[in-house]
């Protein structure tokens, strides 16, 4: 229940000055910052594309504000006691944009298509986990079989990446054509894509199966919805202020104060679920193989001040390994440790690291020197975070070498284990994201990718993460993840920094909502004047 109130972190700058009138059947343009490349949810992995795909595709279920699974294209479902068989009852009145009917076969087609090696799915395939087979005994039933119990399955079905494609359209087109001509059953249908310029969607007039949390029923309120790609932040914000676009995503932090003061503009900050931005402390070698040193390092970090100084209150501080809007988030992690450099010094002394003549601590002839690796370009000011942490750690006697690297070389260094601290965030709808972050099976090694960047290898934690994957009952599952979060905090395996947040501004548009992962929903949106 902790989640709902956090969804809109800072909404409505100008307040009551707005007396906007709604335009019927309006056209709206929303500016995004990163070029998009394709719209086949079974194939594409990018969050920016999910913001568009969410409008074109419906899912079987959705997660409400309290992260409870609710019916959408599936009206009901039954999970067998062994957790291996899911029987979905489906709506019978749903049509795809090409006029074909949604049914049990369509569900099976989509799941099989994701699993097929020819699809080369890189994201959706992870969401369906141990999916084995699917059968459609009749039009309104789909029976899905898993190889092993997989509790995240139902939550994941709410993701836009598991949106349902029209089997007829997807089977008729070559994969490379379908990716640019997607056909779903969502409130907007795809019209055109001009690479690096814009994506045009048009209202689907036959739409009448909005999920229960929508504010109206029937077709969408906007007639057309265009996503325009404007990478330059100055141009993007200028286009919004002059009214050539009605919404813009990714507001530069430095602009937020001005945007909030402008009474014409509505500022929205939407936290993303999953695992927040965290520092992964490499436990596979000294000095961070000692939990006491990890805890001392964390105690020396003034995270609250760094986040406040860099993000001006737009991004909230993260404490644990889960973002606050994720199912299973344990509020107990908040304020569970303090910033106390003096105590950190004492703890390092006790751990045997004694200050040498140059101020750097030593133990058995080894200097307390660490390497902090961060990506380039400076995504979300993560390099500035590195600089803050560097000075914090130096103050208590660490020698810190900060290195920035582009994505590909960074990955190579990570695989070689050439770091003591490295940052990671992972957007996901289900807490099972932690399974791949704290599991030795996913530790990166040369030529092997993986997200266990802290090289956490703890039998008890691994077992708990597996249990979280198997436990179907939501209350029992939440308990498992509470224990997982406590373990990670107590052992300082990773250190939470900030919660990734999608910021956007509206000028002439209203009624935007967000799904559980933080993707915008334009179904209820209207043009205003």
């Amino acid at each position: 229940m902790a989640t709902g109130s956090l969804a809109l972190a800072g909404c409505g700058g100008g307040g009551g000055a707005k007396a906007a009138t709604t335009v019927k059947d309006g056209d709206a343009i929303f500016a995004i910052d990163t070029p998009v490349q394709g719209f086949d949810p079974n194939v594409r992995p990018a969050a920016q594309e999910a913001r568009i795909m969410r409008q074109i595709f419906d899912s079987l279920v959705y997660l409400d504000e309290s992260r409870v699974v609710k019916p959408w294209l599936a009206t009901a479902w039954k999970i067998n006691d062994d957790g291996l068989t899911y029987t979905f009852t489906l709506r019978s009145d749903v049509k795809f944009h090409d006029g074909t009917t949604f049914n049990g076969k369509a569900v099976c087609f989509n799941l099989d298509r994701i699993k097929s090696p020819a699809t080369a799915s890189v994201y959706a395939i992870g969401l369906i986990g141990p999916y084995q087979s699917c059968e459609a005994p009749d039009d309104t039933t789909a029976v899905v079989k898993l190889a092993t119990p997989y509790a995240p399955f139902l939550n994941n079905l709410s993701s836009p990446f598991l949106g349902i494609n029209s089997p007829t359209a997807a089977a008729a087109a070559k994969p490379e054509d379908y990716i640019l001509r997607p056909v779903g059953s969502g409130p907007f249908r795809f019209v055109s894509f001009t690479p690096n310029d814009r994506v045009v969607l048009q209202r689907f007039d036959g739409y009448n199966w909005a999920p229960g949390n929508a504010k109206h029923s029937g077709p969408a309120l906007l007639k057309t919805l265009t996503f325009q790609i404007i990478p330059d932040a100055t141009v993007r914000m200028g286009s919004l202020r002059t009214g050539s676009v009605q919404g813009a995503g990714n507001v530069p932090e430095t602009e937020v104060a001005a945007v909030k003061q402008d009474s014409r503009l509505t500022f929205i900050a939407q936290q993303q679920s999953g695992s927040p931005f965290q520092l992964q402390l490499n436990a596979s070698k000294a000095p961070f193989n000692d939990p006491a040193v990890r805890r001392a390092a964390r105690q020396a970090m003034d995270i609250g001040s760094a986040v406040k100084a860099l993000y001006f209150g737009v991004y909230q501080r993260a404490w644990g390994p889960l973002s606050p809007t994720t199912f299973g988030y344990d509020k107990a992690v908040e304020n569970s440790f303090t910033f106390d450099p003096a105590a950190a010094q004492t703890a390092l002394d006790a751990a045997g690291w004694v200050k040498g003549p140059d101020g750097i601590r030593m133990k058995d002839g080894q200097r307390l020197s660490i390497r902090y690796l961060e990506g380039a370009p400076n995504r979300e000011k993560r390099q500035d975070i590195a600089k803050f942490i560097e000075s914090n750690l130096k103050a208590v006697g660490f020698a810190v070498d900060v290195a920035f690297a582009q994505a590909a070389p960074l990955q190579t260094e990570i695989q070689q284990g050439n770091y003591d601290i490295v940052g990671l965030s992972l957007v996901a709808v289900d807490p099972n994201a932690l399974y791949s972050i704290y599991n030795p099976q996913f530790a990166p090694t040369p030529k092997k990718l993986g997200f266990d960047l802290s090289h956490t290898d703890d039998a008890n934690l691994t077992a708990e993460l597996a249990q979280g994957q198997r436990t179907i009952d939501p209350a029992g599952r939440a308990k498992v993840y509470a224990s997982v979060q406590q373990d990670i905090i107590q052992n300082a395996r990773t250190v939470g920094i900030y919660v990734p947040t999608y910021t956007l501004v509206l000028n002439g548009m209203d009624g935007l909502r967000f799904d559980a992962e933080g993707y915008p929903i334009f179904y209820d949106a209207t043009r205003t004047r």
Binding site: P35, Q37, G38, V43, R44, P45, A46, A47, P117, A118, A120, V122, Y123, I125, G126, P175, E176, I179, L180, T194, P195, N196, D197, R198, Q228, I229, I230, P231, D232, T234, V235, G238, S239, R241, T242, S244, Q406, A407, A408, P409, Q411, T412, L426, V427, A433, Y435, S436, F442, K447, L449, G450, F451
Partner: protein, 311 residues
């Protein structure tokens, strides 16, 4: 003449082959694995990795991959993008038009501005106007184009509302990007035209024309400029290559579609087939322009033609 062209084209082929080898090796020898970028958002299982490697042919040896690329390229099949699965040839076909249009329009801006300012400066040389033009041309060449682009957008789009700031559909959207890109090249042209007009003004035939009693304006417009502008046309042609490369930044500021943006994204995503395809196409255009310039020289100047024929 036909023999000459054939010879130049044949000489261009080894250059192109060299480009493909260097490009192919650089991409693969630089640290980083495209799989790491492709799978960055999702926890990959070994089966997923193996499947993707097989689908994209990344499990083959580098010489085998190069051979596939080369044999494909001969039949205009440049492979498929890792991220969109699109055939690279059709991606390029879609995006090359806007980029060429931008480069051509910019070359036009550069020629018009350069010839105008250059000749005015030459006629009024060592005066105030000349000094002004010389400083201006220096400013044009030294200003970073993303900054010029932003200034133009601020003033002409956001303040005056004359031209759209972004987009690539209508002709109006071409105006500001073409000026941005063209101004950077105009500085060089201005300098060149100024020198060449001054040179022609000192020729004997100009003195003769004046002596004949022709008005100054006619002498300059009809006789001097025509002679002075010929070398400029060649330079503008050669600039086209640089303008194609410069389009990358301008396309991004003005959110235009085009090859430049495509290349930048592909480099970031380690999308080998797209990088290879785009660079190959740009290199081919460069080489082609060089051939055209060589041949046009021979066409204009018989001395060059006979010299080339002898070698």
């Amino acid at each position: 003449m036909g023999y000459l062209i054939a010879k130049r084209v044949l000489a261009g082929l080894p250059t192109l082959l060299g480009v493909t080898i260097i490009l192919f090796l650089t991409l693969r020898l630089l640290p980083g694995d495209p799989l790491a970028v492709i799978l960055a958002g999702a926890p990959p299982t070994p089966e997923m990795v193996a499947n993707i490697q097989q689908q994209f042919g990344l499990n083959k040896s580098i010489p085998a991959q190069y051979w596939d690329f080369l044999t494909g390229a001969v039949t205009l099949d440049l492979g498929s993008s890792y991220s969109t699965r699109q055939p690279v040839t059709s991606m390029i076909a879609q995006q090359i038009g806007p980029t060429l249009l931008l480069a051509l329009a910019a070359a036009g801006v550069s020629a018009v501005v350069g010839i105008l300012l250059g000749s005015v400066a030459a006629i009024r040389r060592n005066g105030v106007i000349d000094a002004f033009v010389r400083v201006t041309s220096l400013v044009f060449t030294s200003m970073p184009s993303f900054w010029v682009g932003l200034l133009l957008i601020m003033f002409f789009s956001f303040k005056l509302g004359w031209f759209p700031a972004t987009g690539s559909g209508s002709p109006q959207t071409l105006v500001l990007p073409a000026i941005t890109l063209g101004l950077s090249a105009a500085g060089t042209v201005t300098r060149l035209v100024r020198n060449s007009v001054i040179e022609v003004l000192g020729e004997n035939f100009v003195v003769a024309l004046h002596a004949k009693g022709l008005r100054s304006r006619v002498v300059v417009m009809k006789h001097v400029l025509r002679n002075a502008v010929i070398p400029t046309v060649t330079i503008v042609g050669l600039q086209l290559g640089a303008l194609l490369a410069g389009a990358v930044i301008v396309e991004s500021v003005f959110s235009r579609q085009g090859l430049g943006q495509m290349l930048v994204q592909a480099i970031g995503g380690k999308d080998y087939p797209v990088v290879q395809g785009v660079v190959l196409v740009i290199a081919s255009i460069y080489i082609l322009i060089n051939i055209v310039v060589d041949v046009s020289y021979a066409y204009i100047d018989p001395r060059v033609r006979s010299a080339l024929a002898k070698t």
